[in-house]
């Protein structure tokens, strides 16, 4: 029987009338870099705080390495946490901040000295022991917060949107650093963010949350290619196209306009209102109707955007008037279409994912790309 | 941990009761029938009737108010000038002035009061309401300065610069942009200085002419004359009600 690093089972948490975490079950493996992703207010931070013990769940069980810690106070769980605003102790220098957890565990001072030195090397801040917190840059403070939580060798490290306040370049650098450190130290990381880019880049697996409910748990590749529902499909990735219709069974999908497309069979969705979800880069586009490809529609180019390594088209079709198509810019001689051109876009059966229809996906919380 | 929470809560409410208790008893006994302080025998407003009839009370109340108002006007005016000059123009003596302004606040009031009295006596200046006002202002100007300066520091000069680029000259900028934006700070300073001046005893006591009283001074004369009488309670209750009224007004204006 595998022992999971962290298990939460049927955990629910209410604040007044709001159900922040709704019957959530998650199992996180040892040495995993696991992310909790979702828009603001979806319950991911509350879930993290429940694992930390900073909130008590109304129902459910929390286990750390197989041990039930639901009623164990925070300071007795062997966790490490990096807070959104870092929470570095302003009245202590770098050394004392990092040593704090070790001192709470009564580690002898000479050992503390060694371990602080080592962890500072791991986070690439050698010699920073005597610096004061307010002398450090954002990225450096980040790393001290990380070092402080890691040096105690916790069973699991919890990170609550730690990169939010950093500039773009530094954030990108830190993502690489975090991944590297996690690999080097081997600790299980549970990372909470609303930025899908962070989650996709760093995670071994991730869970998408919405309104307190887990939508899907899978590795990044699978979340991207096989989203479980329309929300996940929209939230993840740069863009997604939906064609609405009804699934007739036998791999046949009929749109409102009566056009038939071929999809992979899904018996559960027969005669249900559904959509076909297609990533923009899975289309083929040409000025002549293609041969031998089952799914083709005719359309007119509305907008052409030259993005350097790729070209983005917005195509108006009878079925969906804003189809987004990405074409990699492979050769200088390839044809680039202009607004007004008539084109045919097509896709293979596997490129289209059949998903249940959902009313109005509110994406008001689309992460701002800074 | 839950135990400490409970302890803190209980402690808080006990202390709250203890703090209010003396005041409550004071007010209660102002309604006491007999002259005795021993027990509450009956409810009467006779103390209040004699209070209302005591002309000296109303005169000193009136004095407290108008003196405080004058002091506020002077202090805000001069304190504002000082704060504005220091923050906007950053003159060279800035740090010295900052430290100097702290001195009147730190020096115990009795020393300020007595030295001022001696000062007036030496120069042959007769004591009058003016000397009271001067004494108050000497403390309140630095106070107003500190409060207004704190607000001014956090206030971006870009607003004034924007006004200038839009064609406003210095005076217009001052009245249309700076002062309105500083209103919260000015109001805060005004309240603090008013309450301080209105409630002041020590300085007033030593710088006042004979026969002229403010409310706190009048209270003191009644207290130090004979030990007890319940009309003192009535006077105190009156003062308490006025204080609560002021605090309430202050809250309302701040909310606005």
């Amino acid at each position: 029987m595998t022992r999971y690093a962290v298990e939460i089972e049927n955990v629910t948490k209410r604040f007044g009338k709001v159900v922040a975490v709704n019957n959530v079950t998650l199992r996180i493996k040892e040495n995993e870099f696991f992310s909790l992703l979702g828009p603001s207010g979806c319950g991911k931070t509350t879930t993290l705080r429940i694992i930390a013990g900073l909130e008590t769940p109304d129902t459910g069980v929390v286990r750390l390495r197989g041990v039930d810690v639901t009623n164990v106070p925070t300071h007795k769980r062997n966790i490490g946490m990096v807070f959104q605003h870092l929470a570095l102790f302003p009245h202590m220098n770098v050394y004392d901040n990092i040593a704090f957890g070790l001192r709470m565990r009564h580690v002898p001072e000479n050992e503390i000295k060694e371990r602080v030195k080592r962890i500072l090397e791991i986070v690439r801040l050698p010699g920073f022991e005597s610096r004061r917190i307010n002398q450090l840059s954002g990225g450096q403070q980040q790393r001290v917060a990380l070092a402080r939580a890691l040096v105690i060798e916790p069973d699991v490290l919890l990170l609550d949107e730690p990169l939010g306040a950093l500039d773009l370049k530094i954030r990108q650098h830190m993502m690489v650093e975090l991944k590297r450190i996690q690999r080097e130290v081997g600790t299980t990381f549970i990372y909470v963010t609303h930025d899908q880019n962070e989650a996709m880049v760093m995670s071994d697996r991730l869970a998408v949350m919405r309104n307190g409910v887990i939508q899907q748990v899978a590795p990044p590749h699978e979340i991207y290619m096989k989203p479980a529902n329309m929300f996940v499909a929209s939230f993840i990735g740069e863009a997604i196209n939906f064609f609405e219709g009804v699934y007739k069974g036998n791999g046949e999908f009929e749109t409102k306009e009566g056009v038939i497309f071929k999809v992979a069979d899904d018996p559960q969705l027969i005669n249900k209102k559904t959509v076909i979800a297609i990533r923009p880069e899975r289309f083929q586009i040409s000025d002549k109707p293609p041969e031998g490809i089952p799914n083709t529609i005719k359309g007119t180019i509305e907008i052409t955007v030259f993005k350097g390594s790729s070209i983005e088209y917005r195509v108006k079709t009878p079925i969906n008037d804003n189809v987004i198509v990405f074409v990699p810019n492979i050769s200088p001689t390839m044809k680039i279409f202009n607004p007004g051109d008539t084109v045919y876009i097509s896709w293979s059966v596997e490129a289209g994912v059949l998903l249940p229809y959902e009313e109005k996906i509110e994406l008001e919380t689309i992460p701002v790309r800074r | 941990m839950k135990l400490t929470d409970l302890f803190l809560k209980v402690y808080f409410y006990i202390m709250l009761a203890l703090v209010y208790f003396p005041i409550a008893i004071l007010i209660l006994f102002s309604f006491n029938e007999s002259r005795s302080k021993l027990a509450f025998t009956g409810f009467t407003i006779e103390n209040y009737i004699s209070l209302i009839n005591d002309r000296a009370v109303w005169v000193s109340f009136y004095n407290s108010i108008w003196i405080a108002i004058v002091v506020v006007i002077i202090s805000i005016f001069l304190g504002l000038m000082l704060a504005y000059a220091i923050v906007r123009y950053n003159p060279k003596g800035k740090d010295i002035i900052d430290t100097l302004m702290l001195i009147p606040i730190i020096i115990p009031e009795i020393i300020e009061a007595l030295t001022l009295l001696v000062f007036f006596l030496i120069l042959g200046i007769p004591l009058s309401p003016a000397t009271i006002i001067i004494g108050h202002a000497a403390f309140d100007i630095p106070l107003a300065y500190i409060i207004i300066k704190a607000r001014l520091v956090g206030y971006d000069p870009q607003y004034e610069e924007a006004a200038r680029t839009l064609g406003a000259d210095e005076i217009q900028t001052l009245f249309r942009v700076t002062l309105p934006m500083l209103m919260p700070g000015i109001l805060a300073a005004a309240f603090m200085t008013f309450v301080w001046s209105y409630d002041d005893f020590i300085k007033t006591f030593f710088t006042k002419p004979i026969g002229f009283n403010t409310l706190p001074v009048y209270l003191w004369t009644k207290l130090s004359r004979r030990g007890f009488s319940l009309d003192v309670n009535a006077l105190c209750t009156f003062i308490i009600v006025i204080s609560i009224l002021f605090t309430y007004i202050r809250m309302k204006i701040i909310q606005e």
Binding site: R148 | Y11, V19, A85, E109, T115, G135, P216, F228, C236
Partner: protein
């Protein structure tokens, strides 16, 4: 070429001069307030210093400045009978009051800052601060009324049987200290609450995640971070408390003479060159002692934070 035209030009020229010269603007703004303060605060203060150094002589009704410096008044003051007692007593009251207010208000401030959700906080803060907006003398009298041997509280206690007979509290050290603590509580509570309220709650959570129990968190994080408030509160209470004279007069007796009372007596009751001389000397000594003690206090307590 009308006369009004001429006047306008002069007036505007002056304004322009002011407008363009930074120096003039500064002078005009700093001038009046500084002049006022120099005349009415700093010169009285300077005069007091000169008085204490016996630099004044009186001829008939005129006072003259004499070019000499003498420490006679300081010596006279320090040689007053029982002066050591008075000074020690004043400091004793002040220290006990400071410690008392600190111990009593810390839990209050802590409760307000950490244990109350935001929406109730303002109301509770208002309620606990409200009594202290009431006039100082009224509050002192309220306590006196309760403490009085022939007053309601004591009669009640006797009637119930808790006391056999009324205790004489008024006129004792206890009365003065109790009243001082009651009156000065707010001056400690305000800075403490101000500092505690600003402590980032995330810091406490971080300490918990690092293994610190609630007690350890308090000792290692909350307490050190509240030090500036403790220092500020202590100074705001201690400095005036040493010179307090209203409370000893109203609530104390012959045995509770304080420095403030002494200064008052020498200025008013004795008066004249000698009275003012000794009074000023006492005042200057008071100020010097306070400055030294405050400096030491700040150094000592400020230094300890670094040690921890």
């Amino acid at each position: 070429m009308s006369p009004e035209f001429e006047e306008e030009k002069w007036y505007i020229r002056l304004l322009d001069r002011i407008r363009t010269s930074r120096r003039l603007k500064i002078a005009l703004l700093l001038g009046p307030p500084l002049v006022f303060l120099i005349i009415f605060f700093f010169s009285p203060f300077a005069i007091a210093i000169m008085y204490s150094l016996a630099m004044f002589e009186k001829v008939v009704h005129q006072y003259f400045l004499v070019p000499r410096i003498s420490l006679e008044y300081y010596i006279k003051f320090l040689n007053l009978p029982g002066i050591v007692n008075v000074i020690l007593k004043s400091f004793y009251y002040a220290i006990v009051t400071t410690v008392g207010t600190l111990v009593l208000s810390y839990p209050l401030a802590y409760y307000l800052a950490f244990k109350i959700p935001e929406r109730y906080r303002n109301i509770l803060v208002f309620i606990i601060f409200l009594p202290f907006w009431i006039n100082f003398i009224v509050r002192v009298y309220a306590l006196k009324f309760i403490m009085h041997g022939a007053g309601p509280l004591q009669s009640l206690l006797v009637a119930i049987g808790i006391l056999k007979e009324p205790i004489k509290i008024l006129g004792t050290d206890t009365a003065v200290i109790l009243t001082m603590i009651y009156s000065y509580l707010i001056f400690m509570l305000l800075p403490l609450y101000g500092v505690l309220e600003k402590i980032d709650k995330e810091l406490l959570e971080a300490a918990a995640t690092l293994g610190a129990s609630p007690v350890k968190t308090f000792l290692k994080v909350t307490l050190p971070l509240s030090m500036p408030g403790i220092i500020a509160g202590s100074l705001i209470v201690f400095i005036p408390a040493v010179g307090e004279f209203i409370i000893p007069v109203l609530v104390g007796g012959a045995a509770t003479a304080t420095l403030g009372l002494l200064i008052y007596r020498y200025f008013i009751a004795v008066g004249g060159l000698v009275g003012w001389g000794i009074g000023s000397a006492a005042g200057i000594i008071y100020i010097i002692i306070i400055v030294i003690l405050s400096y030491l206090y700040i150094k000592l307590v400020g230094g300890e934070i670094r040690l921890a």
